[in-house]
């Protein structure tokens, strides 16, 4: 079981939205047993990131942000709906779910 985490300001709204969407896609693809997305609080990100396999970031910064020790891709496509299929493919290939 692979763990994907997504973090936002409180681990409540934005991150939980992305988690719900990606989990639902995983379910539709029949991969629900292989990976799961969890919404976490960005203020405690350091304690979650070491035990996760992939970080879905929804906090892009044009000036460049922090580097993370695990593979990181943008979760914004799941919020806007644009490019969500491609992002999903990336998740599947990075985690070798198929």
């Amino acid at each position: 079981m692979k763990t994907i985490i997504v973090a936002c300001g409180g681990g409540i709204a934005t991150s939980a939205t992305v988690a719900a969407k990606v989990n639902s896609r995983l379910e539709d693809m029949g991969l629900a047993g292989k990976a799961k997305v969890e919404a976490v609080d960005i203020k405690s990100l350091d304690s979650y990131i070491s035990s996760a396999d992939l970080y879905l970031s929804v906090t892009p910064m044009a000036r460049g942000g922090k580097e993370y020790p695990i593979p990181t891709i943008s979760g914004i496509p799941f919020l806007t709906g644009m490019g969500a299929d491609d992002a999903m493919e990336q998740i599947v290939s990075i985690l070798k779910l198929k």
């Binding site: 936002c8 939980a16 405690s44 942000g65 709906g81």
Partner: protein, 457 residues
């Protein structure tokens, strides 16, 4: 017919935790969800509401008890306990007309898109509750749900207009094109933005602090369990609990850690519905230029926001202790993004200006929270779970979004002449704000290379 009315009434009487799942289930079927998914989503909303009550009740019996000891020991009348934004907005769903805000927000948004009055499609469903809260407040003071919805509609329109008016700047900050930010907190920038410009006249205000380094050092104080432990222990110690204060500290940390875990269930419930609704809308308007309105945390990677918040915590607590007329102990919302994330945009990330604004806002946040506490308490009690509060305690939301605007609006409804004058002043400021943003947007577009400097002035 009578039997039907009786069934309907008895379901209503069981409260939002039973009533809303049925509404969401029906809504889910209407927007095309499979019955299974619709049922799961609806029931999850009931679970979220019940979960919120559980955690609020836990907070009241643990931190609330310590806070009462604190009141008795010090004589400082802090009878209201701030539960923070997530439980407060969760609680709003218990208002009897709450579910109507869904179709109202989506309907107003679609109408404005069709008429070309906005480019933003707001897909942020969490903050539907922020409109419910406004409507609930206005309805509570005026006794009219219609006026409540009128206030909420004004808020929806202003949010979309503000999102349109600042979208280039958001793209510049995030590097993501095609998004905007209709979160209500950014309406505070109608005041913060000109104020930040005034602060520029003071020389040392322009000094840039390195927020990333500060955040690495101070970040631990922003973690829910650590912050809860510190505040809980202090309250317990001043309340004369002795070594028991450490237990209060751990319990306070528990409350702040459990709130998000329960609150995120709201989004698990609402996301399938909003997804279906949004794809419905996008299908109907192919080819129309549209930006997607997102919630504020897209900015949450910026360390300035968290540093400004942490620097405000001691000030917020001291202000709460000494401010005449304040009755609320800031607790659940001490990590106050509602001011600092908005100020981040208004101050263009200048930490000293952000902290200045955040400190100056503390009295307003305390007074408005005190003013609204009785209404929130009544709402919590009206859910039928009267036992969620210990005797003599009030529930409050310190540091709510657009506290200053909501306070003006509610007091204006109470025909307070100062508030009416302030609201008129705010309207004038809003006019100029939107004008100023045109230049900011142009400048942002130039910096991103979208247009040439000479294009227009």
């Amino acid at each position: 017919m009578d039997a039907l009315a009786l069934v309907f009434q008895s379901i209503l009487d069981l409260g939002a935790a039973v009533f809303l799942p049925i509404i969401i289930f029906i809504l889910g079927l209407i927007v095309g969800l499979k019955p299974g998914k619709a049922l799961s989503a609806g029931l999850m909303l009931g679970v979220a509401l019940t979960g919120i009550n559980l955690v609020v009740s836990y907070m009241s019996t643990t931190v609330g008890t310590a806070a009462q000891a604190f009141v008795e020991n010090t004589g400082v009348q802090l009878t209201g306990l701030d539960m923070g934004w997530a439980p407060a907005l969760g609680l709003c769903w218990n208002w009897k007309y709450a579910f109507l805000m869904f179709p109202v927000q989506i309907g107003i948004n679609v109408i404005m898109l069709v008429l070309g009055w906005t480019k933003t499609l707001n897909v942020d469903m969490w903050n539907v509750a922020n409109k419910i809260f406004t409507a609930f407040l206005v309805a509570s003071v005026t006794g009219s749900a219609v006026l409540g919805f009128a206030a909420a509609i004004i808020q929806i329109v202003l949010e979309l207009k503000n999102a349109d008016a600042t979208k280039n700047q958001i793209t510049e900050l995030t590097g993501v094109p095609g998004i905007s930010m209709p979160h209500p907190m950014f309406l505070s920038n109608i005041i913060f933005y000109p104020f930040a410009k005034l602060l520029d006249k003071i020389p040392f205000m322009r000094y840039q602090l390195n927020a990333a380094t500060l955040k690495d050092k101070l970040g631990i104080f922003g973690e829910n369990h650590v912050l809860g432990f510190i505040v809980g222990t202090i309250v317990g110690l001043v309340g004369g609990q002795g070594s028991q204060a450490l237990l209060t500290g751990v319990q306070a940390g528990t409350a702040l850690t459990l709130f998000p875990m329960v609150s995120k269930l709201f989004m698990t419930a609402l996301t399938p519905i909003s997804d279906a609704a949004n794809s419905f809308i996008k299908k109907r308007f192919p080819g129309r230029e549209m930006v997607i309105g997102l919630d504020w945390p897209i900015l949450a990677g910026n360390p300035e926001i968290w540093v400004a918040i942490i620097f405000t915590i001691p000030v917020a607590l001291i202000v709460a202790m000494v401010l005449p007329g304040n009755t609320v102990l800031p607790f659940g919302n001490l990590m106050n993004v509602c001011v600092c994330a908005a100020a981040f945009v208004a101050c263009k990330g200048n930490l000293i200006k952000m902290i200045t604004i955040s400190w100056l806002m503390c009295p307003i946040l305390s007074w408005s929270a005190s003013d609204f506490a009785p209404m929130l308490t009544d709402l919590a009690i009206s859910t039928g779970s009267t036992d969620i509060l210990i005797e003599g305690q009030q529930l409050a939301w310190w540091g709510m979004d657009i506290a200053e605007i909501r306070w003006m609006a509610v007091e204006a409804c109470r025909v307070n002449p100062i508030a009416i004058a302030a609201l008129a002043g705010f309207a004038v400021l809003a006019f100029f704000f939107f004008k100023w943003q045109k230049k900011e947007e142009h400048d942002a577009a130039v910096r991103m290379g979208w247009i040439q400097e000479t294009a227009s002035k």
